[in-house]
């Protein structure tokens, strides 16, 4: 009993250290977002001060921030939904077709994630310009999907590999067609995988900066770019940036919380390749 107690104390002590280390930057975001500008930087840092909400006010007063958050949501959800749909279909095919070339296909798909993004910014700009898609959420959805589809394929293939073939065969015996088997039997079993993929696609699309900066203007600007736009020629407006960072953190947290039950099950199954 005492041994258990001692052990628990040790676990909690370690956890406390971990939490302090990992939460300090988060604390910095939150506290700076309500810290008056003149004392933003001070030696020693100001820990006790009267909080101000002027940065939050400025954020919405100086930029159409609500619209930008909305843009981010459209782009992130759009790319996630699109990537999950065609990504999981492809993953299912790769998982079920027994052919030695399939590894190459999987690898080719994954290699789409490896090209340095910085090298393709200009060509993407040119394409979207001529297609009239510049400054639309669709442009970003397309670009993000080229990164999200490979990830989805990679993750989902692991999950589909785990689904027992016997179940699918049984369904086939019951007269289910291939699509029906996939939809009613395989996909529900791999649902946790969808949750994992969804979270990563969402996080990536929500946070991406480079393409969002280059391919959008006022119509489709995302919240991340809008937050960074408080980095001006003569100043980094820390208070507003931190306030914006805190606000755009919230959807991600909500999304992950909703998916969390699935996540734990999901990561277990799929990653065991």
């Amino acid at each position: 009993m005492t041994r258990n107690l001692r052990q628990n104390i040790l676990v909690y002590a370690l956890l406390a250290v971990v939490l302090i280390v990992f939460m300090t930057p988060i604390y910095l975001i939150v506290s700076s977002s309500v810290k008056p500008s003149p004392i933003m930087f001070q030696k020693p840092p100001a820990f006790l001060f009267t909080p101000t909400f002027e940065h939050y006010h400025d954020l919405f007063a100086m930029r159409p921030f609500t619209k930008f958050i909305w843009n981010s949501l459209i782009v992130a959800l759009g790319s996630t939904a699109f990537s999950l749909t065609i990504g999981s279909l492809a993953a299912y095919a790769i998982s079920r077709i027994r052919h030695k070339r399939m590894n190459d296909v999987a690898f080719w798909i994954l290699s789409m994630r490896m090209f340095p993004p910085i090298a393709v910014v200009v060509p993407y700009y040119i394409i979207f310009k001529s297609a009239g898609l510049l400054d639309t959420p669709l442009a970003l959805i397309i670009v993000y999907s080229t990164a999200n589809i490979p990830l989805t394929v990679w993750l989902m293939k692991g999950f589909f590999d785990e689904v027992p073939l016997a179940l699918e065969e049984a369904a086939a015996v019951d007269g289910y067609g291939l699509l029906a088997t996939f939809w009613y039997v395989t996909l529900p079993l791999a649902a946790p995988g969808l949750a994992v993929s969804a979270v990563f696609c969402f996080i990536f699309s929500w946070n991406e900066f480079l393409f969002a900066l280059m391919l959008t203007g006022s119509e489709a600007q995302t919240a991340t770019v809008a937050v960074m736009s408080f980095w001006s020629s003569d100043a980094v407006q820390w208070g507003r940036i931190m306030a914006g960072s805190f606000i755009i953190l919230i959807p991600g947290v909500i999304f992950v919380l909703t998916c969390q039950r699935w996540l734990v099950r999901g990561l277990t199954m799929g990653s065991v390749k």
């Binding site: 100086m62 040119i126 020629s233």
Partner: protein
């Protein structure tokens, strides 16, 4: 003047327009978009663009982007034949690359046409020259910048401190006129916590100066060039058009920066824009030189601590030998996309006139925390001077002012010198000469690709044709 008026009339007749008075409602249905950042002037203009819309009928949408990455976005935008943006925010050193690529509309004729309306005679000439490329005016100042020094007036006037300074250095304590004095003052005022400053025991360290040595956003090169220029250093070799920033003047400037390190805050290598000005604004340093766009904060207790604990003084940037030398200027400006349609360009020019007009500038100054001014009548206005004591310094400094570097390869220079100076300051390169020679070698490697004729054209600062 008469000639100007005739030109203006002719222009007006030809274009079917005549100044703002009759531009009212002329641009119904024209939609303008501006590629900008959220600097002081844009931030002030954005909320009141509806006033312009009422005046002219044109609608204006200002998109604000982060400063890092903005020039990349402008260049990509400029490379496109059908522009998304008719108006662009431009930092004056960019006129070289943008001018060479033909991205910006030449404003010369428009300025000549509307000379009276925009009070051309009242604008500090160097601020216009800042935006000139090969004689063509490619952008119009919205915020004029001067590099000058800020110091702690209350400490300089403290009897005890000034007596101690004179006893130690043999000359009276006053705003530094030479860099040697600047270094002396910096050393003199560098105190550790526990020592006394102006009769009070310091709770934390106090610094003699705050200069920027960070590579982020080119901060270190911005600090280096004013010093180099004030020693009489040149950017380019007039014979070959190659890099000349490794001459004795440049070496002296790098050594000044190195000598200032011990009296700088210890995070000197990380100090960039507002972090450096923050030391001055919080009253933690005796002197600091930077662009005048941030100076206004030193007068405002809501934006800075200093006005509540002491007083800021302002002076021109020191020079090598105390004699007048070129002061660094800069301009944050508005420009028009050369590929916009005629009517869009006309409307965009109306917008620039409106947003940079003397009335607007005065309005900003009167509303407080004004933008950095560039109209002589505003800078010399006694009422405004009482409120913004540094206006006189800005006005005086313009006399010997010379424009900043405007070469199409400016970005290379900022980057390469940033790397090499940073290495020297960090102690990785042995001597200033080595660091600067390395930097110049790298720049020259890129420049030699181009014919000498072209290189010489690039360094030729032809005066703006607006004055002809």
């Amino acid at each position: 003047m008469k000639h100007l008026r005739t030109t203006a009339l002719c222009g007006a007749v030809l274009l079917g327009l005549a100044g703002t008075a009759s531009a009212e409602g002329h641009f119904e249905g024209v939609e303008l978009k501006m590629l900008a950042i959220g600097d002081t002037s844009v931030t002030r203009l954005a909320p009141i663009v509806s006033e312009f819309e009422e005046l002219t009928g044109a609608s204006v949408q200002i998109d604000m982007f982060p400063y890092p990455g903005l020039i990349d976005k402008i260049v990509i935008e400029a490379s496109s034949d059908s522009p998304s943006y008719q108006l662009m925010w431009v930092d004056s050193p960019w006129v070289g690359v943008l001018g060479e690529s033909g991205a910006l509309l030449d404003l010369t004729e428009l300025v000549q046409r509307d000379a009276e309306e925009i009070h051309l005679d009242d604008i500090v000439p160097i601020q216009l020259q800042e935006n000139t490329w090969q004689g063509r005016l490619l952008a119009f100042p919205a915020s004029g910048m001067i590099w000058h020094q800020n110091y702690r007036k209350d400490l300089y006037e403290n009897a005890e401190e000034s007596a101690a300074f004179e006893a130690e250095y043999g000359y009276p304590l006053a705003p530094a006129q030479t860099w040697d004095q600047y270094i002396d003052i910096a050393q003199f005022f560098t105190r550790s916590a526990g020592e006394t400053l102006a009769g009070e025991v310091l709770e934390q360290d106090f610094y003699g100066n705050a200069q920027a040595y960070s590579r982020v956003a080119g901060a270190i090169t911005h600090d280096f060039f004013p010093i180099m220029r004030s020693y009489g250093g040149q950017y380019w070799d007039a014979e070959t058009g190659l890099c000349a920033m490794d001459g004795p003047e440049a070496v002296a400037a790098a050594e000044v920066m190195k000598a200032l390190i011990p009296s700088n805050p210890p995070d000197y290598l990380g100090l960039m824009w507002d972090i450096r000005t923050g030391y001055m604004e919080r009253g933690e340093t005796a002197q600091s030189s930077y662009w005048s766009v941030r100076t206004v904060r030193l007068t405002n207790p809501e934006e800075a601590v200093l006005p509540t604990i002491g007083e800021a003084g302002y002076a021109q940037s020191p020079t090598g030998d105390g004699n007048p030398q070129p002061t660094m200027t800069g301009a944050l400006s508005f420009a028009i996309n050369s590929k916009a349609s005629d009517v869009e360009q006309q409307a965009a020019w109306e917008f620039i006139k409106w947003g940079t007009s003397r009335d607007m500038m005065r309005r900003f100054a009167e509303e407080g925390s004004g933008v950095s001014q560039f109209h002589m009548s505003i800078l010399s206005d006694p009422e405004l001077q009482a409120r913004y004591p540094y206006y006189q310094v800005l006005l005086d400094a313009q006399e010997n002012a010379q424009r900043r570097i405007f070469h199409p390869f400016y970005a290379d220079v900022e980057e390469v010198f940033g790397v090499e100076l940073n290495k020297y300051m960090a102690g990785e390169t042995d001597s200033a000469q080595d660091a600067l020679t390395n930097a110049c070698t790298k720049i020259d490697t890129r420049l030699r690709v181009f014919p000498e004729e072209l290189r010489l054209r690039w360094i030729n600062d032809e005066p703006a044709a607006i004055f002809q």
